[in-house]
Assembly symmetry: C2
Homo-oligomer: 347 residues x 2
C-alpha cells in the first residue's frame, strides 16, 4: 500500500519526522508493507508547495538553510496551508503548525478541512485536542477517516494509544503527571542550586523553553495537556480555562532546597479526578517524594500516572526525550493509521 502524505507545518517536529521517514523507509516497507510519497508541504515563512513526489531531504535542507520551498524539485507553489490541504490529494495530513494557546487555531481549521475532504489526520498539536476534541472526533468518525495525536502529550511515549489499544475495557478515573519539560528542567536545576532566573535562562538557551516562556512557567502548557488527556481518556469535554492553574513563578529557591533536603521534590503536577462536583482539573506545584513515579521525572523527562478501575495505578515514564521522540510519535501514528487502512482495504 502506498500512502500520499502532506505536511501542514514543517518545523522541528515535522522535520524530525521527515528524517525518520527517510531513514526508516526500508523498515517501513519490509515490516509493514508501507510505501509513501509526499504530495504537499505548507509552511508559514518558507512558502507552500505541491508535487507528485516531493523530496523531503531537499525540503528539509532548504528550510534549515532559511531558504524558501519555492523551486523544490518537481513542485509547484501554492498560496497557503489551506491551498495545500485542498489540492494535495493526500491520504494522510500531518498537522504540526505552531499552537495558539488561546483557541487552538489555525490547527483546528486545518484538521476540519482535511476531514471534510476525506483525509485522515495525524497531529502533534495539542490545541485541537484541548479545544475541539469531541467535535473533531465526531467529524472524523462521520467521514470514516482516522484521527491520531499521540505526539501531543509526552512525545512518542504511548499514552493515548496505550489506553485505547492496551487497556481495553478499563476506565481511567484520574491521572497525575509531570508533563511540561521547561518547568521541570527549571525545578531540577533549582534542586541543584541554580536560581530560578539562571535556570530559566539556561532552558531558553538550550531551546527547551520558548523565547517567551510564560506559557510554560504559568502552567498553560501543562493545563492544555491535562485537558487533552481528560477529553480523550476520561470522556470529558473540558477547556483549558477550566483548569485550576498555578504556575511555578512564585516557587522560591528555599522551597525547592527544603524539599530536596527531606527526600522530596517540587514538581509541576497536572492532575484530573472525578469528585462530587464533577471533573476537577488542576495544574499546580506539589511536593512529591523523590522516590515515586512523579518524583523520578528529572530535567526534560516526563511521567504520567493513570488511576484506573480494573488495573489500579499504572505509570509510564519517558526519559530525556529529544526531538526524535516527537518525530517518532508521528511515525507511530502513521503506522496505526496504515494498519486501519490495510484492514479497510480487506473489508
Amino acid at each position: 500500500m502506498e500512502l500520499k502524505l502532506a505536511f501542514i507545518g514543517f518545523g522541528n517536529v515535522a522535520r524530525a519526522f521527515a528524517r525518520l521517514l527517510r531513514s526508516q523507509s526500508a523498515r517501513l516497507e519490509a515490516w509493514h508493507g508501507l510505501r509513501w510519497r509526499a504530495t504537499g508541504i505548507a509552511t508559514a515563512s518558507h512558502g507552500s508547495v505541491l508535487g507528485e513526489d516531493l523530496d523531503l531531504d531537499e525540503a528539509r535542507a532548504r528550510v534549515e538553510a532559511g531558504s524558501r520551498l519555492s523551486g523544490l524539485t518537481g513542485s509547484a507553489d501554492v498560496e497557503d496551508s489551506l491551498a495545500v490541504i485542498e489540492s494535495c490529494g493526500a491520504d494522510l495530513v500531518f498537522e504540526t503548525t505552531p499552537l495558539s494557546p488561546v483557541d487552538g487555531e489555525p490547527a483546528i481549521r486545518h484538521i476540519r478541512r482535511a476531514f471534510e475532504l476525506g483525509m485522515s489526520v495525524v497531529t502533534a498539536n495539542k490545541g485541537p485536542i484541548a479545544f475541539a476534541y469531541r467535535d473533531l472526533a465526531e467529524t472524523a468518525e462521520r467521514m470514516r477517516v482516522c484521527f491520531r495525536f499521540e505526539g501531543t502529550v509526552m512525545d512518542g511515549t504511548p499514552v493515548f494509544n496505550l489506553v485505547r489499544d492496551c487497556l481495553p475495557s478499563v476506565t481511567v478515573v484520574g491521572f497525575s503527571g509531570v508533563l511540561n519539560s521547561t518547568t521541570n528542567y527549571i525545578l531540577t536545576k533549582m534542586e541543584e542550586g541554580r536560581s530560578f532566573h539562571d535556570a530559566l535562562a539556561e532552558a531558553v538557551a538550550l531551546k527547551i523553553a520558548e523565547a517567551d516562556p510564560a506559557y510554560d512557567i504559568d502552567g498553560w502548557d501543562a493545563a492544555v495537556k491535562a485537558v487533552a488527556l481528560a477529553n480523550v481518556l476520561m470522556g470529558a469535554d473540558a477547556r483549558p480555562r477550566e483548569v485550576r492553574r498555578t504556575g511555578i513563578g512564585s516557587i522560591s529557591e528555599g522551597e525547592v532546597k527544603r524539599a530536596a533536603a527531606s527526600g522530596a521534590a517540587v514538581r509541576l503536577i497536572a492532575s484530573a479526578e472525578r469528585g462530587d462536583g464533577g471533573l476537577r482539573l488542576i495544574v499546580e506545584p506539589r511536593i512529591v517524594p523523590l522516590s515515586s513515579p512523579l518524583g523520578i521525572a528529572r530535567g526534560t523527562s516526563s511521567v504520567l500516572v493513570l488511576t484506573t478501575d480494573l488495573m489500579g495505578e499504572i505509570a509510564i515514564v519517558e526519559s530525556d526525550p529529544g526531538i526524535e521522540q516527537t518525530g517518532y510519535a508521528l511515525l507511530s501514528d502513521l503506522l496505526s493509521v496504515h494498519e486501519l487502512f490495510k484492514r479497510r482495504a480487506i473489508e
Copy 2:
C-alpha cells in the same frame, strides 16, 4: 459475537479472571459486542468438567469451598485437562496451570494441543514463553489462531501488548526490570529494618511467596520472566538456564541499610542487552538510585525499563498489584483476541 471459553487450571488467577468476566459482562457486551460462555474447566485436584454453559460463580464457590466440580449444574465429568481441551469445542482456552520451572510443562503440551485443534490460547503461564515461545508462536501462526500471554510478566500491565501495539517499528535493544514481587517485598522490608528471615516469613504468611520460596529467592522466577521478555520482545530464542543468575539469599541486612543510607536501594534486577557475544541475560541484585525507575518499585510493585532504538528509554510501572490485576491480564488478552476474531469475521 459469542465466544466459547475453556479454563485449563482454575486456581487464584483463573478465578480472579472468572470474577471479572462475570462482573464486567454488561460492559463487555455493550462496549465490545462480546458475549461468552464457559464450556470446560480442568483442575488438578477438583476434577474436570464439560458443559454447554457452565456457571463460573458456582464453579468458583465449589473450588473455594474445597469441593469437587463433579455435579456442577449442567456439567459432565471428564478425566483430565487434555480431555477438556479435546472435547470442550472452545474458541479460546485459558491456560493457567501451575508452572514447572524446569521445562514449562504441562502448559506447553496443553497449548500445543489446543492450537492443533484450531483453538486460540491465552496464558498467564510464563513457562511456555520461556521454554517454547518460538515453536508455539509458529504453530499458532500456521493454524491461524491467536496466542496471548500478557499476564506472564507484570500481571495486566501492558508489556508485550505495549510493544506490539503501541511501539510499531521500534526495536527493543535491551531492558532492565524489577519483576519478582517476593524478592522485592523482602528487600523493601529489609530497608525498613526487618531481617531477611522475618521478611521472608512475612511474605510467605501474606501469600506473596510460595511455601517453598526458593524459586523466587534464587532468582529463577525473574530469570524465566527475563527469558520470556527477550524471546518475545527481542526475537531471542533463549532458555532460562542461559541466564547468569544470582539470587538475594546472600544479601546482608548491612548492605541493604548502607544502600538506603546513601539514597539507593538493593533491587533484584532482570536485564537483557545485546553485546559482542550475543544476547546477555542477567538476574542479579544491584544497587540502584532510590529516585530512578528501578528504585521506585517498592513492595510488590514492579517496573520494566525498555531501551529502544527509536524511542530511547521508556519505563512502565505497576503499583501494588493484587490478584485482580492478573485477572485483568486475561481479560485484556480476551479482548485482544476478540478484536482479531471480529476482523476475521469481516474478512
